[in-house]
Amino acid sequence: MTFPTDENVLVGLDRADDAGVYRLSDDLALIQTVDFFTPIVDDPYWFGQIAAANALSDVYAMGGVPKTAMNLVGFPLKTMDISILRQIIQGGIDKMVEAQVVLVGGHSVEDSELKYGLSVTGFVHPERFLVKKNLKQGDALILTKPLGTGIINTAIKGGLASDELIERVTRLMAALNRSAAEVMAAYPVHACTDITGFGLLGHLAEMVCGSGHSLLVQSAKVPILPEASEYAAMGLVPAGAYHNKTFREHMVSFEASVDALMRDILFDPQTSGGLLISVAGERAEALVADLMAKGIDQAAVIGSVIADPSEKIFVQ
């Protein structure tokens, strides 16, 4: 398939990045992205917040600033009370207010299954946007939110999670990647993406493909929600994690000491996950300290870009 393009398309479909980037002038480029999904938590207001945070995240991952958004709604009018939709949209709006993004429109259709998300437009300097595929040897990899939301959402679906855990994970998923994006802007960041459905290793695989380098991941340093291991051991791993593993396993070399539960967590699909930042190694600790000072207290250096042209991911 060929896609229509022109000379101002800076990031298009051919690069399959987090969002599209289009140059408007020499000092301004447009970032566009769209994301929506079916409910991951029972509370409609929080679902709205999470869906909005997730859609906005793509703009932050491109190093941009989101400015406007439009609602995308699929709603089962015949079987669900309209007040639920109001709560969802209120959640979305509150998240937009927090992000200083304005809602300028939207579109709803009747749908057998509830869906909500946003189309988001943001801005960035045409020479300063961040893509996934620009790893530099000697970079350190930083992750800004803990992993495990896919597994824990599976436990929530099964009615096995405590209220306290549900609330903690909900807040984590609803947290904007805004502060992280603002902090990293002052650092020599070479590549960035946000962790979503492919899981940490799936997104790292995307970054390393075609880079001419390899990655080293230190699993002990990866921030993880403590309950995730417990639920993974009970067999509450979402099917998505297995699919991610099957799809990317050939690129990953696990040291024997990395147990099966950890492997699943590293492939666990995340909802509204953190940013994955590849920054010049010598500045990594300072960036983490800065992130922590801004309240992103689980941020950690989890690995590095190494001189090995095989484009593999070594997990120890």
């Binding site: 009615g159 993974a232 009970m234 067999g235 509450l236 791993v237 099917a239 297995y242």
Partner: protein
């Protein structure tokens, strides 16, 4: 061997279904059939976490998990506070919620008194098995519920017949004891030094 058909279900439903069955009835061997590899791995992991040894297979389009030895965690195999010197293992089986024949009202009173007085057996009282009308002693509203709960706290195993609970539609209302099956009951009889049947 109990077979669980969890085909057509996606994660976490096969694990939850398996979990519900094991909670209802402790099983030594269980076979779970699913229709995708992810569910197979999840059920495998769950059964292992419950003490089963597992074997995985692909049968046509289906994926199966056979778990064995799970009943280790249930009373029938536990090495029992058994042969402590001088202590015998007495199993008391109540097949009714009233004692003796004749007057039912009297029978009920006697049964309450019997259960309360059982503690006089001291450490010899090993297992209490409730079958047929006996399961009614273990449900909400039973006159001896608090006594039974106290026995359980002291470490006396109370086995409640699952088939009987189901027959009386009382599964949801059981307040004490472990739901059990005939194999457990027969094994308990074999292990006991003395079986008293009421």
């Amino acid at each position: 061997m109990k077979e669980v058909d969890a085909r057509g279900l996606s994660c976490p439903a096969p694990v939850l279904q398996t979990k519900a069955i094991l909670e209802q009835e402790p099983l030594d061997t269980i076979k779970v059939i699913v229709d995708n590899a992810a569910s197979q791995q999840n059920v495998d992991r769950f059964l292992k976490s419950q003490g089963f040894e597992t074997a995985l297979a692909k049968e046509g389009e289906d994926f199966t998990i056979v778990g064995k030895g799970g009943a280790k965690s249930t009373p029938q195999m536990d090495p029992a506070p058994a042969s402590k010197s001088g202590v015998q293992q007495i199993m008391v089986m109540c097949t009714t919620d009233r004692m003796g024949f004749g007057d039912d009202e009297l029978g009920l009173k006697l049964m309450v008194n019997f259960i309360r007085t059982l503690k006089e057996m001291g450490p010899d009282l090993w297992r209490l098995v409730l079958v047929n009308n006996g399961v009614k002693l273990a449900i909400e509203g039973s006159a001896v519920l608090s006594e039974l709960q106290a026995y359980e706290k002291e470490g006396i195993t109370i086995l409640v017949c699952g088939t009987c609970l189901e027959h009386f539609k009382l599964l949801e209302r059981k307040q004490v004891g472990i739901t059990t099956n005939m194999l457990d009951i027969v094994t308990a009889m074999q292990l006991a030094d003395k079986v008293i049947s009421i």
